[in-house]
Assembly symmetry: C2
């Protein structure tokens, strides 16, 4: 009754404390906590569970990660977590990952390639089991990812750097759907608000826009660049209005731009869709609650997240990386001119 007395351990409770309290070895505690790899007698298990409860034991994830070489976590890098599309995407990824017992670490690169690289480094150091990279640009710098040897999936990407799995959307088809719909409304001068991506690749939305116009025998409309933000769209909206050859319809390449454009039009007393039609891209909740509600090319966020998670956990390293190009869906609301 002297040396066997159990003391309340100071500081964090470890497996050792539990073992001492339950009167077993540390291995047994581990077997109970992880349900294996060896059996434990029911009576012993009860004692251990009791000790865990009484002492408030929580396994140390860092030690676990060290031993197993896996943190059961996936890291996500997005260019702008203020953009509801990425918020939504991150949310869907968290959902899909948690389904498989993985946690998620979300980092934000604020449109900066430097921070994007830094975020990847941080995630790699944290021993995440996978990285989802939604880059600021179309052809991201993947050297950091390659060096880390962590399985990765490029989100929001059409498979540009080879050797990496990717999940994206058919931007060109989406662009065509939007512009063809506007052409169907009788518009002949259709402008494009496109992003300021710093990569070398062409934005598929621009390709789809131009192709649709030419196929219909229409002249190329005006194109303006702006960041994918509300203020960016606002500026672009004002510039469209002041053009000599002002378009009668605009395809905005994301919802945030469109909402900024909408504001510029409201302020100028330009009615949407009567004086100016507008179709946007993303299908975020914001597009549904703007006034007028935006007709928009919706990205299948849920499916993208699920495909991404599957591409990561489903594959052995030797297999070929998969490329998923998912279809978009044109959601008709008011801003295009439909009743």
């Amino acid at each position: 009754m002297t040396t066997t007395a159990v003391q309340t351990p100071r500081g964090p409770v470890t497996r050792k404390d539990v073992a001492r309290y339950a009167g077993v070895s540390t291995a047994v505690v581990s077997y109970v906590v992880n349900g294996g790899p060896k059996n434990v007698a029911p009576a012993t298990e009860a004692k251990v569970r009791d000790a865990i409860r009484v002492l408030g034991y929580r396994p140390n994830a860092a030690a676990r990660a060290l031993k197993l070489g896996s943190s059961e976590t996936i890291g996500v890098v997005v260019p702008d977590n203020t953009n509801p599309f990425f918020t939504h995407l991150a949310h869907a990824v968290e959902e899909a990952a948690s389904e498989l017992g993985y946690g998620m670490v979300l980092t934000n690169s604020d449109g900066s390639l430097t921070r994007e690289r830094k975020n990847i480094r941080t995630l790699a150091a944290r021993q995440v089991d996978g990285v989802f990279l939604a880059s600021c640009v179309f052809d991201p710098d993947v050297t950091e990812l390659e060096a880390s040897e962590i399985p990765s999936v490029l989100l929001n990407n059409a498979g540009s750097p080879p050797g990496f799995a990717s999940v994206g959307v058919d931007l060109e088809a989406g662009g065509r759907a939007a512009v063809q719909h506007l052409i169907g409304h009788g518009h002949t001068n259709i402008g494009l608000a496109i992003g300021t991506n710093t990569g070398n690749q062409l934005d598929g939305r621009e390709v789809g826009w131009l192709a649709s116009l030419r196929e219909a025998g229409l002249p190329d409309g005006p194109m303006l660049h702006s960041p994918f933000t509300r203020p960016g769209g606002y500026e672009v909206g004002k510039r469209f209005l002041s053009m000599a050859n002002r378009p009668t319809a605009i395809f905005a390449s994301n919802d945030m731009q469109a909402i900024g454009i909408l504001r510029a039009f409201h302020e100028a007393g330009v009615r949407v869709p009567e004086d100016m039609a507008l179709v946007s891209f993303d299908g975020s909740l914001d597009s549904e609650y703007s006034w007028p509600a935006l007709t928009t090319v919706a990205q299948p966020v849920q499916l993208m997240a699920e495909a991404a998670v599957r591409a990561l956990v489903g594959k052995g390293r030797a297999e070929e990386p998969q490329h998923h190009i998912l279809p978009t869906e044109l959601i008709i609301r008011q801003s295009c001119g439909c009743k």
Copy 2:
């Protein structure tokens, strides 16, 4: 030239590999990487840095966290990362934390107390150095936090569970500012759209609303509950319109509700602010880009994040937990009736 030959190590590169390549002991590598605690000769340091670069060595954060008992990470729990207020807050926290060399893990409890608890557990297991809890309710269940013994700060909270540091906003004063402004516009029947929080505490915005009305000698206006979401606001907006004693102004307790309400009004052809004035709460970017732009009681997101981070890293455990109640600011735009 036989056993001393340096091989390219298979798998992840460890400190040992670097030491072997550079021809030094592992301790020296550590001294170089961490800049201490002992000095290293410049020539040796150069050799080590070279080896690190050539081999692509990245310190294992899990091992580091295990040894140091700190992951240099703070965990954040928010009730809804779709809500721009929380997105913005999380972003500001990330910013402030990264300033001090800390990373951030963001988790989302989707309005569920069960998930909120689960998220706290996960963060605790991950050895985060601190937790910021923005709970779904006013009086959160902190037993999980207490058990974890991790320093924590309650965000968006007025200090209700004692013993915890907290950072919040003066909801009552904010509510008064909004309602008094509407009274100043001559309104005498002012409704309130308030949240459906499941806690036991009264929402300060409700208190401020009611107090302002009574102090002005006005009758209590109608009050409706809804989730802090756009669809929730939309439903509430329709119900306000169908009331026998329809109010002429509404104070919405967050921007999302207000945007939903705006949509209900637009659909019904009710003009804002001419037929119905509206003031909301939060001051998110969404409130600036709605139509009409929302007059709103802005929360000082930046300051809240900084105060929270300071409350966490600045304090020794023994000190009294700090309570920060920050002031709000009424931002005048169009929805209230001001030009």
